[in-house]
C-alpha cells in the first residue's frame, strides 16, 4: 500500500487533488481511499488530505501517519516545523516551489520540484496549482501514468477549464525537476 499526504491551504484544491489522484489510480485498476482532515471549511487555513492506494481493498479508516509520498501545494507550508513528520525512509516529496533544493528531512530521498503557481497562472489564469502538481506527481513517482491523470480530470472538470488544466498538468509532468539524495 502507498500512502500519500497532501498539504495545502483551504481553497487551493488539496482535497480535490487527493480525490483526483484516487480516481487516476482507479483507472489503472487500483483500490483507493481518500479523505481530508479539516474542521470548518475556511479559505487559507492549512488543510491535509490523504490518499491510499493498494492492489487489494483498503479498509483502514485512519489518518496517514507515515506517508510514502507528500505533496505540498503551497510553498509557504515548507516553513511548518512538523511538515515532514512521519515521512517514511525513502520518502518522496512533490512541491510547488521555484527554488526548493535541500534535503529538508533525513528520510527524504526524491523531490519533484515544479513552479506550479507560475504554470497555473499561465495556463489556467489563476493560482490553482493542484493539477500541475498531479502531473509532476506522475513524472516523479512513476506510480501512475500521465494518461490516467489526464483522463480522470474530466470527471471533475469540463469545457475550457478542463483543457486549461490538462495543459497545466502536462507542463507539470514535463517541467518538474527531480532531485535525488542518498
Amino acid at each position: 500500500m502507498k500512502e500519500i499526504r497532501i498539504h495545502g491551504r483551504g481553497g487551493q484544491g488539496a482535497v480535490t487533488a487527493a480525490r483526483m489522484l484516487a480516481s487516476a489510480f482507479v483507472i489503472e485498476g487500483k483500490y483507493v481511499a481518500s479523505f481530508p482532515m479539516y474542521g470548518f471549511e475556511r479559505r487559507g487555513a492549512p488543510v491535509q488530505a490523504f490518499t491510499r492506494v493498494d492492489d487489494k481493498p483498503i479498509r483502514e479508516k485512519t489518518q496517514v501517519y507515515n506517508p510514502d509520498c507528500m505533496v505540498v501545494i503551497d510553498p509557504t507550508l515548507l516553513k511548518l516545523p512538523t511538515l515532514f513528520a512521519g515521512l517514511k525512509p525513502g520518502g518522496i516529496l512533490i512541491v510547488n516551489s521555484s527554488n526548493f533544493n535541500t534535503q529538508a528531512d533525513k528520510n527524504l530521498q526524491i523531490a519533484g520540484v515544479v513552479d506550479a503557481t507560475k504554470i497555473a497562472v499561465e495556463e489556467i489564469g489563476r493560482d490553482i496549482p493542484n493539477t500541475c502538481l498531479l502531473g509532476a506527481f506522475a513524472a516523479t513517482t512513476q506510480w501512475v501514468s500521465l494518461d490516467s491523470i489526464i483522463k480522470c480530470l474530466s470527471e471533475y472538470l469540463s469545457g475550457d477549464m478542463l483543457q486549461r488544466n490538462i495543459r497545466s498538468c502536462e507542463r507539470g509532468y514535463r517541467e518538474v525537476k527531480i532531485l535525488r539524495w542518498q
Partner: protein, 400 residues
C-alpha cells in the same frame, strides 16, 4: 443459484455523495433538507441532481431540521416515499418530530452523519448523537464504508416500507471518516433498483391520509390502545431483525454484495477472543485482526450493523463460548461508567456466560482510532482471556 452480474457505474465519490446517489436511485417523492457539517454535501448533491433533472422529487429547503423531519413524516403519512439527512445538533433539533415519526409508524428513511453533540462544542466525528436517540423507536443501522452507505440506503427503503415493519430507518455513518472519504464505489443502475424495490408494490397498502375520507392520523392513544400500539411497535421492531437478515440475503443475491444482516461476523469461527465494533473503525480493526491472526492468535471481530432493534439473539450466538470480549464505543454511557454498546452486550451475560468483558472508549471528537490503539485493545482482551487482571473500562486515548 446462479448470481446475475448486475451492471454498475464505478465512481470515486465521498460518503456524502454516496448517500445522495443512493437516494436518487430510490426515487423519493419528497425530500426535505437543511445543511449541517458534515452532512451538507448530501444536500448540495441532491439539489444538484434536482437542478440537472436527475431527481424528480419535491425538494423542501426547510428553515431547520425540525421542519425537515415534520415535513417528511407528514409527506410519508400522506403516502409518499421520503428522505432527509442530518447530523448531531440537527438530530437533536428534530427530536420531538422523530418521536412522532416513530409513533406514526411512518417509513421515513434518514441519514445521520455521526458527529459529536452540543455542550462540549466539537465539529468532529463521534457516535453520541445516535446513542442519544436509541430508544426513540427508530430502526438504526450503522455502516462501515462508502459502498455500504449506498447499499444500506437502498436496503433501508426495502425494510422501512415492508408491510410487516412500517418503521422509520436511520442510516448512520461516521462524519469526516466516511462523509468526506472518497472511495471507488459501485453505483447500481436505477432500473435495477426499481426492480429490486418493486416487491414493495406487491404488498398491501399501508394506511395513508385521503382527502374526503374521515381518517385522522395521530389520534390520542388512551390506556389499552396506547399500550397495544406500543406493543405492536415493539413487535415490529422484533420482526425487523430477521427481516433485515433476509433482506441482506435477498439484496446480496440481487446485487452481489452481502453484509451479514444485523451483524457481520469476521473471522469468528475459531476465535477465542472477540472485538465488537461498529462504523468506520471496523475497517481498521479488521486489518489489525488479520495481522494478529498471522501470529497465530485466535481473534475475531463482530460488527454491529443494526443497533436498533438490538441484535440480541445473533450476538448471543456469536459471543457464546469465547474467552474474553471487548467492545469499542465511540460514545459514552453515563451512570454505567462504560460505553453504551458495551453496556448492552454486558446485559447478555446470562446468555453468553461470565467471561471477561471490556469496554474501550475511543474515537471521540475525531480522535483517530489508530492501528496501535486497536492492537492495544486486542492485547488487553488477550491478557484478560489468559486470566490476567484487567480493567473494565479503558479510555484508550487517555491512558498513559
Amino acid at each position: 443459484m446462479v448470481k446475475q452480474m448486475r451492471k454498475h457505474e464505478t465512481r470515486v465519490i465521498t460518503g456524502n455523495a454516496c448517500a445522495a446517489y443512493a437516494v436518487r436511485l430510490c426515487r423519493p417523492d419528497v425530500v426535505a433538507l437543511y445543511p449541517i457539517t458534515p452532512q451538507s454535501e448530501v444536500v448540495e448533491q441532491l439539489t444538484r441532481f434536482k437542478a440537472d433533472g436527475l431527481l424528480d422529487a419535491e425538494m423542501i429547503e426547510v428553515e431547520g431540521e425540525n421542519s425537515a423531519m415534520n415535513a417528511v413524516t407528514a409527506a410519508c403519512v400522506a403516502g409518499g416515499r421520503v428522505f432527509t439527512a442530518t447530523a448531531s445538533y440537527g438530530l437533536a433539533f428534530m427530536y420531538d418530530a422523530m418521536m412522532q415519526t416513530a409513533g406514526f409508524r411512518a417509513p421515513v428513511v434518514m441519514v445521520n452523519v455521526n458527529r459529536e453533540i452540543p455542550g462540549i462544542h466539537a465539529v468532529s466525528a463521534g457516535q453520541q448523537d445516535l446513542i442519544s436517540v436509541r430508544d426513540i423507536g427508530w430502526l438504526q443501522i450503522i455502516v462501515e464504508d462508502d459502498q455500504e452507505i449506498i447499499d444500506a440506503i437502498i436496503q433501508a427503503y426495502r425494510l422501512a416500507e415492508d408491510y410487516e415493519i412500517q418503521l422509520p430507518v436511520m442510516i448512520n455513518y461516521d462524519g469526516y471518516y466516511l462523509s468526506f472519504s472518497a472511495e471507488a464505489v459501485k453505483i447500481p443502475m436505477i432500473e435495477d433498483v426499481d426492480e429490486y424495490l418493486s416487491i414493495l408494490k406487491k404488498q398491501p397498502q399501508r394506511l395513508k391520509l385521503e382527502p374526503g375520507k374521515s381518517m385522522g392520523a395521530g389520534s390520542h392513544g388512551l390506556l389499552q390502545t396506547y399500550t397495544e400500539l406500543r406493543y405492536k411497535h415493539m413487535a415490529a421492531m422484533e420482526r425487523a431483525k430477521a427481516k433485515f437478515d433476509a433482506i441482506d440475503k435477498e439484496y446480496g443475491d440481487f446485487f452481489g454484495r452481502y453484509y451479514g444482516g444485523q451483524i457481520e461476523e469476521y473471522r469468528t469461527d475459531d476465535a477465542e477472543i472477540i472485538l465488537v465494533t461498529s462504523g468506520s473503525a471496523t475497517g481498521t480493526a479488521k486489518t489489525v485482526v488479520d495481522a494478529v491472526r498471522e501470529n497465530g492468535q485466535k481473534v475475531g471481530l463482530v460488527k454491529i450493523r443494526m443497533y436498533r432493534p438490538f441484535p440480541r439473539e445473533r450476538l448471543t450466538k456469536v459471543l457464546q463460548g469465547r474467552k474474553a470480549i471487548g467492545v469499542l464505543d465511540r460514545s459514552v454511557g453515563f451512570g454505567w461508567n462504560c460505553g453504551p454498546m458495551y453496556q448492552e452486550i454486558r446485559a447478555l451475560t446470562p446468555e453468553i456466560g461470565k467471561v471477561p468483558l471490556m469496554s474501550f472508549i475511543d474515537g471521540l471528537a475525531n480522535m483517530d482510532i489508530t492501528i496501535p490503539n486497536i492492537e492495544r485493545m486486542i492485547r488487553d482482551i488477550q491478557a484478560a482471556a489468559e486470566g490476567k487482571p484487567y480493567q473494565e473500562t479503558t479510555w484508550v486515548s487517555l491512558e498513559e
